[in-house]
């Protein structure tokens, strides 16, 4: 029982990341009808927003401390971040420590801007072209974005720790009456899950309860009629692209403490996110979220020693196997709608 709970918990954080990326992909696909192969790159750019903020907060100047010697006997050079100088070591240190959460504030405008520029500058010109061309041009864009990041930050993963007060782990076992240390779960993963759920909730609420969202949904159902009513639907769809980019970016920002970001992390997630979208059903937002969590948890179950000893390597292939089975038995995916992407 406790093992079961542990696996579900373990699947939640990866599932959250899948769900967030798949949600963004589906938003773009549902509104603009474009298959965005650069979405993984957006996730990666989000993660590097956190890296950037961390670097920015850690900008420091060097002073020479005569009282201390380094191992060669020279006076020790001490690096002090400007922030500690301005706000004192306590407050300044705390701000630096909270770099990742602070990066969220920075990432939202940046990601929306990136998304809008991408849509207006490039993808706009590809609506009338075949899907294959859209895939190819976004694939090219993904390579370019990756290489740009690689140029600035190198190829190695960059550690971006969570705030130290959130670095510990929570003992779930005690809560449910199991032995202590049976189910321990890092705080940050819990936060990631809650964060993902609130983002997903916010996106759904935005679409469901605001006038803007209503227009967007109407546009998704019948673009032509909406634009005949005198509404500038293109502008709203561009905005949705920005929001989708922001969702992917935030997923990336918050994922950095779980996995140190490197330039190709986006590609790794992208392939799986496509599978998630296909399993959930092309164009279905709840389907994307559901499938994201479902596959995340399935993957974590498949990684248990019991599963890997019974069928070796099941953890590597389970997601693909599920995707193949779903596509063959329910070609529209779990919650796909009729008429969306039938060809």
């Amino acid at each position: 029982m406790d093992a079961l709970l542990l696996q579900i918990l373990n699947g939640l954080d990866k599932g959250s990341a899948y769900a967030l990326i798949a949600l963004g992909l589906t938003l773009i696909f549902g509104t603009l009808g474009v298959v965005n192969f650069a979405h993984g790159a957006l996730f990666m750019i989000g993660a590097f927003c956190a890296v950037f903020i961390q670097g920015l907060l850690n900008l420091s100047y060097e002073t020479i401390d005569e009282t201390q010697k380094d191992f060669l006997g020279n006076p020790l050079k001490v690096k002090t971040p400007y922030l500690e100088n301005w706000f004192g070591p306590e407050t300044g240190g705390a701000i630096i420590d909270w770099a990742v959460p602070l990066a969220i504030l920075f990432a939202i405008p940046v990601m929306i801007a990136v998304g809008v520029i991408m849509e207006r500058g490039l993808i706009k010109h590809f609506y009338k072209r075949p899907h294959a061309d859209q895939i190819l041009v976004t694939f090219g864009l993904a390579i370019v974005l990756q290489e740009v990041i690689k140029y600035f930050y190198g190829a190695n993963p960059i550690p971006t720790p969570a705030p130290s007060s959130l670095a510990g782990a929570f003992d779930f076992g005690v809560l449910f009456g199991f032995d202590p240390n049976a189910i321990i779960y890092p705080y940050w993963r819990m936060i990631y899950f809650v964060f993902a759920m609130s983002i997903i909730g916010a996106v759904f609420a935005f679409l469901q309860f605001t006038t803007f969202g209503m227009v967007v949904r109407a546009g998704m159902a019948d673009r032509e009629t909406v634009s005949m009513l005198g509404i500038n639907i293109d502008k709203r769809f561009t905005m949705m692209f920005g929001i989708a980019a922001a969702v992917a970016g935030l997923a990336g920002v918050m994922y950095t403490p779980i996995n140190p970001p490197n330039y190709h992390m986006g590609m790794d997630f992208l392939v799986l996110s496509f599978v998630v979208v296909v399993v959930g059903g092309m164009g279905s937002l709840p389907g994307a979220v559901l499938a994201g969590f479902l596959l995340g948890i399935l993957e974590s179950f498949a990684s248990t020693t019991w599963a890997t000893t019974t069928i070796p390597g099941i953890n590597q292939v389970i997601i693909y196997v599920v995707a193949i089975i779903v596509l063959l038995t329910r070609p529209r995916g779990l919650m796909g709608r009729r008429g969306v992407m039938e060809e």
């Binding site: 298959v35 490039l122 010109h125 072209r129 075949p130 899907h131 294959a132 061309d133 895939i135 190819l136 041009v137 694939f139 090219g140 864009l141 390579i143 370019v144 990756q146 290489e147 740009v148 140029y151 590609m267 392939v271 496509f274 599978v275 296909v278 092309m282 070796p312 390597g313 590597q316 292939v317 693909y320 196997v321 995707a323 193949i324 596509l327 063959l328 070609p331 992407m341 060809e343």
Partner: protein, 400 residues
């Protein structure tokens, strides 16, 4: 000739001549000159040209003719390499059985993957093939290399060790892939004045394979079967409504394409007897897509051009560094020289992929037909210009 019409025959002859003379043609600069770094006529690179040429020709049979964009073709390349190396390990270094097995195994693989993937079309097909390729990669990389059943040797890659079985290996045969005793590494160096041309056995073997593959592709393009595939591209639904079942045709195209990839994978193992999982990764699948698009989708010569183009510039660009740049720009004043070097710096050396990505985007955006279309456009422009001259002359004459 050989069942080809005149135009195809001349194209085919041009390809034959170019591949046979490649070691000479690609070495235009004397060995000692500073421009020798632009030479491409050494075996390693030329082998890549022809092997990836085969890969791209095969990919083009699927994508160019039917419009189905497979994002998992590298899986077949990897499978081909693995099967070839297994023949080396178990039986013999002779390349013929290795290639035969590579083609057969990748063909079987293609039947399995194609049967499932081809139930869907469009974007679903791309994602399904991508998923299959990633699955094969994951399997090859980790699962199939456990001690009990080591099929792929995981991260290290499959290699040949001294204690391998090699049933038919005899004394006197080279310890390297060979064709009935003719070792693939042997190279004849032909010195002509300041030039030195390397005539390599493995290159010529691969080149002959490519010529055969190219011939087969021409025949396929011109056959009723090729017609059928084009019909699928232009409108599959209408084809279905006329009562034709298009699925067997699709599957056949997919399998042929997969076998081409398997042949290319086998040839990679001919030039260098090892096989690694990274050959199956989806970046490798992306590369063949790039080659085909860059050269010209749906044309005969395009994929070969694209493969050569990408492999050549990959090689050249990765070799250039800041020092070389400074050498080039020495004639400029110092300040401008440094600025120029700084601007070019991100695109060279390790930044080659950035250049490739930008180039690829530009081609997709402005030149969907690739290099071939670019060439045609230029030719048309030239013809129009010369026609205008003639017309101008004509009016002048009549005015007189």
């Amino acid at each position: 000739m050989l069942g080809l019409n005149n135009k195809d025959t001349s194209l085919f002859l041009v390809i034959i001549v170019l591949t046979i003379l490649a070691p000479v043609l690609l070495n235009p600069f004397p060995t000692e000159s500073t421009l020798a770094q632009f030479n491409a006529g050494y075996p390693d690179l030329m082998q890549k040209f022809v092997v990836f040429g085969i890969f791209a020709i095969g990919f083009n049979i699927l994508f160019g003719l039917t419009g189905y964009l497979s994002f998992g073709h590298a899986a077949f390349l990897g499978v081909g390499s693995y099967s070839a190396v297994w023949i080396y390990k178990l039986f013999t270094y002779n390349v013929i059985p290795a290639l035969i097995l590579a083609v057969i195994v990748s063909g079987i693989f293609a039947v399995l993957i194609g049967y499932v993937s081809l139930r869907r079309s469009g974007i679903y097909f791309s994602i399904l093939t991508l998923a299959f390729a990633q699955m094969s990669f994951a399997l090859a990389y980790s699962v199939l290399s456990n001690p009990k059943f080591n099929l792929t040797n995981g991260e290290t890659g499959l290699q040949i060790y001294a204690n391998d079985l090699q049933l038919f290996h005899r004394e006197g045969l080279p310890d390297f892939p060979h064709l009935f005793g003719l070792s693939m590494v042997s190279t004849y160096k032909l010195g002509v004045g300041p030039w030195e041309f390397q005539l390599n056995v493995a290159y010529y073997f691969c080149a002959i394979m490519m010529i055969l593959a190219f011939y087969f592709a021409i025949r396929l393009f011109r056959s009723p079967f090729g017609m059928m595939l084009r019909a699928i591209k232009s409108n599959q639904q209408r084809l279905n409504y006329t009562g034709l079942n298009s699925r067997p045709y699709m599957l056949a195209a997919f399998v042929v394409s997969g076998m081409y990839a398997g042949l290319a994978g086998g040839l990679l193992a001919v030039t260098d007897p090892l096989a690694g999982a990274e050959r199956m990764q989806w970046t490798a699948s992306g590369e063949v897509v790039l080659m085909t698009i860059l050269g010209g989708t749906g044309t005969l010569i395009g994929p070969v051009l694209g493969a050569g183009f990408i492999k050549y510039f990959e090689n050249i660009f990765s070799k250039i560094n800041d020092q070389v740049l400074h050498q080039w720009f020495t004639f400029l004043p110092d300040g401008i020289e440094d600025v120029l070097v700084a601007i070019v710096h991100p695109f060279i050396g390790k930044g080659w992929h950035l250049t490739l990505g930008i180039l690829f985007m530009l081609v997709v955006i402005f030149l969907p037909g690739g290099l071939v279309e670019g060439g045609q456009r230029i030719a048309r422009l030239l013809r129009r210009l010369s026609n205008r001259d003639k017309a101008a002359d004509a009016t002048n004459v009549s005015a007189e």
